[in-house]
């Protein structure tokens, strides 16, 4: 095949033909001696254009979606578990502090929480020995304050760890 003719046909296929080349190609196409070459080229071009993509396996999409799902689920459930542990821990500390404060004879505010009042702390903590001096003086405030600081630091570390875990998964 004439090299120039093939070059122009290729440019036509690439959609890169400029107007001057179009008229040159037209001249080649009108020449009957180029018909076989043109047909052979166009057949390859058309066959490639009609080429259908190969298909993935049947369960490809299902596997992929479950991978995306698996990646997302643990972070959500892990977050819930962490929140539940923190909530339970906070409630436990609150309940213990409330009980010991009541028993130490410290002045308490003039309001009552029915849910807390209904809990029988005497029964709940029966048999548990503890250093009573901690709750009989200003030590109780020191103890409560220290515990709160430890709790806050622990919470910050838990959240920080959770955030790092999530960003690690994302990356």
């Amino acid at each position: 095949m004439n090299e120039k003719f093939e070059f122009l046909l290729n440019k036509l296929a690439d959609e890169g033909l400029i107007s001057a080349e179009k008229s040159e190609l037209q001249t080649f196409l009108l020449d009957d001696s180029n018909r076989a070459a043109r047909d052979a080229f166009l057949k390859v071009h058309e066959s490639l254009r009609n080429l259908q993509p190969e298909e993935t396996s049947f369960d490809f999409e299902k596997t992929l979606l479950s991978r995306i799902g698996i990646r997302k689920k643990p972070s959500a459930s892990a977050g819930k578990i962490v929140m539940m542990i923190i909530a339970l821990f906070l409630f436990g500390i609150f309940a213990v502090t409330f009980y010991f404060t009541e028993n130490s004879g410290m002045s308490s505010p003039n309001f009552s929480i029915p849910f807390i009042n209904n809990i029988n702390f005497e029964e709940l903590f029966a048999g548990i020995s503890y250093p009573k001096f901690l709750f009989e003086s200003s030590y109780s405030l020191l103890f409560g304050g220290g515990l709160t600081v430890i709790l806050l630091i622990a919470t910050v570390f838990i959240f920080q760890g959770h955030r790092e875990f999530r960003s690690r998964i994302k990356s």
């Binding site: 296929a13 993509p53 190969e54 992929l64 979606l65 997302k72 994302k170």
Partner: protein
């Protein structure tokens, strides 16, 4: 309810970014076969191609918030797929020849006795077999152009080659394909009769 084809890629991406992550399945359905065809030419192994394609879809999903909407999603996605394939080859030290492989070696082959053409095939199957006889780079660029529908500048953007290089590879690949088909009786029957 909208037909899936009437929804553009950008609309799907917006929806996914708003929290409807299930809509990402539409993009998977839309691009899985084309992405697979590209990787199958690059890696020449179906299992590897599927594994790498899964990773590429996951990467694209995680990177979706960073997708710049001034370009086409398809070009961006094929770049991820292509790079994932190249990384896989490098990581697994796969012996897939790329730059050193010359199309001239294909030209001297005896087309009348091409392996794998002992029985009649459909045009699609036969053409993939012929494509797999071309050097990897040539078959990958043909797939990007004809199957994935990328333009020459887009292919250059995906592969990192110059536009001129892409054009030369396309021209030479068409030329050798024509010679292969014309030179093999069975292929000639499949494609020309």
């Amino acid at each position: 309810m909208y037909a899936m084809k009437s929804i553009t890629d950008l609309q799907i991406i917006d929806s996914v970014l708003k929290g409807n992550t299930n809509d990402y399945a539409m993009l998977i359905t839309r691009y899985k076969h084309k992405g697979f065809t590209l990787l199958n030419r690059l890696l020449r192994n179906r299992e590897d191609a599927e594994e790498v394609l899964q990773d590429a879809f996951l990467k694209a999903f995680n990177a979706l918030p960073y997708f710049r909407k001034d370009s086409k999603f398809s070009t961006w996605f094929y770049r991820i797929v292509y790079n994932a394939g190249i990384s896989f080859i490098a990581k697994n030290k796969k012996m897939i020849t790329w730059d050193n492989e010359s199309i001239e070696n294909v030209e001297i082959a005896d087309f009348e006795s091409l392996p794998g053409f002992s029985k009649p095939e459909t045009g699609n199957v036969a053409l993939y077999k012929v494509l797999d006889m071309l050097p990897v780079r040539n078959s990958v660029i043909l797939i990007l152009f004809y199957v994935d529908g990328l333009s020459v500048p887009e292919i250059a953007g995906v592969t990192g080659l110059t536009e001129q290089n892409v054009k030369v590879i396309l021209h030479r690949s068409r030329h050798i394909l024509k010679k292969m088909i014309m030179g093999n009786k069975l292929l000639k029957e499949v494609f020309y009769e």
